[in-house]
């Protein structure tokens, strides 16, 4: 062999280090690109003004409201469904045909692309249920998109609760529901909230499904049944239709900041939760 195994080792290690660094670099590049141009443009007015001239001037306040409204609906619907599913899987059954079916459904749902959710949301919520392009259609569509994430993280959190807590509760005369509600769920709360925050992050960035279900109206929505544009959709339209690169940068920067904040909150919570587990 011409190359000694130690040289191979060196080459391999350098390659891996370089790859990792390149990956890091690209990520920083992407974020930096948008933030550098966009951050300076984020002013108080930008956040609170209405858009003018199709978004060429003015602010993005309706889109911020839209983003928040859709996300809130998604969370309100998906969290009870997701936590309930996790509770059932962990506290009320063992591995069985039913539990395998539920997990299969959840795994598959997690793999469905957003455009398919968009198609479904359109034909089911907008057309079939007659809800029209609206906050409610978009929010419900988002809810089913983030459901698998919440089920997964809630299940992990519930699984991490020590068995001894449950045993003590039963030994003191607790029923299954009492044990779940008074011991398991409070103990799993940080993990569940982390999952919810992950869902929020996904909702904020989602575009394909939203355009097809919540519409793209720039007007400030006046009810749950009004159409609305989210920040991500606004960003997409500004960039693709070439309406205003400046505004696109600013909107993109606002989007990134929002996601960075949500991610940091989730990470912070996760750390506190892991530290608590060490006891």
């Amino acid at each position: 062999m011409s190359i000694s195994r130690f040289t191979t080792e060196k080459i391999a290690k350098y390659t891996i280090w370089i790859s990792a660094l390149l990956t890091l670099l690209v990520m920083v590049w992407i974020l930096f690109q948008v933030l550098r141009e966009g951050l300076p443009l984020i002013t108080f007015n930008f956040l609170f003004d209405y858009p003018h001239e199709m978004g060429r001037k003015g602010g993005i306040s309706p889109t911020i409201i839209g983003t928040m409204a859709l996300t809130i609906i998604a969370i309100i619907v998906a969290t009870p469904l997701g936590v309930g599913t996790a509770v059932y899987l962990r506290e009320y059954t063992r591995e069985s045909r039913v539990s395998r079916l539920i997990r299969f459904g959840t795994d598959c749902l997690a793999g469905v692309p957003s455009i398919i959710f968009g198609l479904f949301g359109f034909i089911f919520f907008v057309i079939f249920l007659g809800l029209g392009w609206s906050i409610i259609s978009g929010g419900l569509t988002l809810a089913i998109m983030i459901l698998p994430t919440i089920i997964c993280t809630a299940e992990e959190a519930i699984k991490a609760t020590p068995y001894s807590f449950r045993e003590v509760s039963y030994a003191l005369g607790g029923t299954r529901w009492q044990t779940t509600w008074k011991v398991v769920l409070p103990n799993s709360l940080p993990g569940i909230i982390t999952g919810v925050l992950l869902g929020v992050g996904r909702s904020v960035g989602e575009t394909a499904a939203i355009i097809l279900t919540a519409g793209s109206s720039l007007l400030m929505p006046d009810s749950l049944f009004a159409p609305v544009r989210t920040m991500a959709v606004h960003f997409y339209i500004l960039a693709r239709e070439g309406i205003s690169m400046e505004m696109a940068y600013a909107t993109g920067a606002a989007l990134i900041i929002m996601i960075l904040l949500i991610n940091s909150a989730a990470n912070f919570l996760l750390h506190r939760y892991l530290k608590k587990l060490e006891r």
Binding site: E9, A12, I16, A20, M27, V34, I102, D107, L119, N263
Partner: protein, 281 residues
């Protein structure tokens, strides 16, 4: 006692929501899309090269090829880098750097696709146009950006598979005199093979399903892509672009595209699940 029974039944009902929603999605997509495929004929739909909705031509072969090329390209970029980063996290990094790198990868996963598309549009596309020719909005641009987008998927699942290996594998190899790299290459990676392959398949699923970023940088010409510098459409971008104004047969054709997409993704998911269930010997 009965309150407990009622609660249990209620929770079962809630827990069945995920599978029910999946069934609902499949049902509605299929109901809207299958009639069109039936009407036009499966062969002419899947293998037709012409997509002219106004003339009633609904051949999605160019889109299938577009999806295929972009996905393969993404894998060519994403898999080596992804594996390298997974190895980096698992084997090479001192804990301090790991604490920075891991959240960085999470952040990569959290960036919305529209941001990736935007970056691709203002950075990658002009670069390709300048140095390699063509419109810049191309399969190559799509592959590059998509490759970056699927990195978190490949990294996290591969790293999990490597981490799940018993320590004795590594310790045994090292104690037999193997170098670190030899241990990784000859022992750890083959042992984690099924997990790594599963991560690749899931990355593929992610790539095929991507819409927004691809709309922004692929150029969206409805043609059979001739080279990696050509503009193209994927199954997803086709739906994303035209759904806003499609009616009648046209709309149904887009749902039919959705049917094909859904089937492909379910197939890939099932494959990944089967492979990852295989025991590591």
């Amino acid at each position: 006692m009965t309150k407990e029974k009622v609660l249990e039944k209620f929770l079962l009902f809630v827990a069945l929501s995920s599978i029910s929603i999946l069934a609902l999605i499949a049902f509605f997509i299929f109901i809207e899309g299958i009639p069109l495929i039936w009407k036009k004929g499966v062969f002419s739909f899947l293998c037709g090269e012409r997509w002219y909705p106004s003339r009633g031509d609904f051949g999605i072969l160019p889109m299938i090829v577009g999806s295929f090329l972009v996905t393969i390209g993404a894998l060519i970029i994403g898999v080596p880098f992804g594996l390298a980063c997974a190895l980096f996290l698992g084997e090479l990094t001192p804990p301090l750097i790991g604490m920075i790198f891991r959240p960085a990868i999470q952040l990569l996963a959290a960036i919305p696709s529209v941001i990736y598309g935007f970056w691709g549009l203002i950075v990658i596309v002009p670069l390709i146009r300048e140095y390699l020719g063509g419109p810049g909005l191309s399969v190559l641009a799509g592959s590059l950006v998509l490759g970056i987008m699927i990195l978190p998927t490949i990294i996290s699942i591969s790293e999990d598979s490597l981490r799940a290996l018993p320590r004795s594998y590594k310790e045994g190899a090292l104690s037999l005199g193997a170098t670190h790299w030899q241990t990784i290459w000859r022992v750890l990676i083959p042992a984690a093979k099924s997990g790594i392959v599963a991560s690749i398949i899931l990355g593929m699923g992610r790539a095929i399903g991507e819409t927004m970023a691809m709309i922004m940088i692929l150029g969206n010409a409805v043609q059979m892509p001739e080279s990696i510098l050509s503009s193209a459409r994927t199954l997803t971008t086709n739906i994303g672009i035209e759904m806003g104004y499609a009616t009648g047969d046209h709309r149904q054709a887009l749902f039919a595209t959705g049917v094909i997409l859904f089937l492909i993704i379910m197939l890939l998911n099932a494959l990944a699940l089967i492979i990852s269930k295989k025991r590591v010997r």
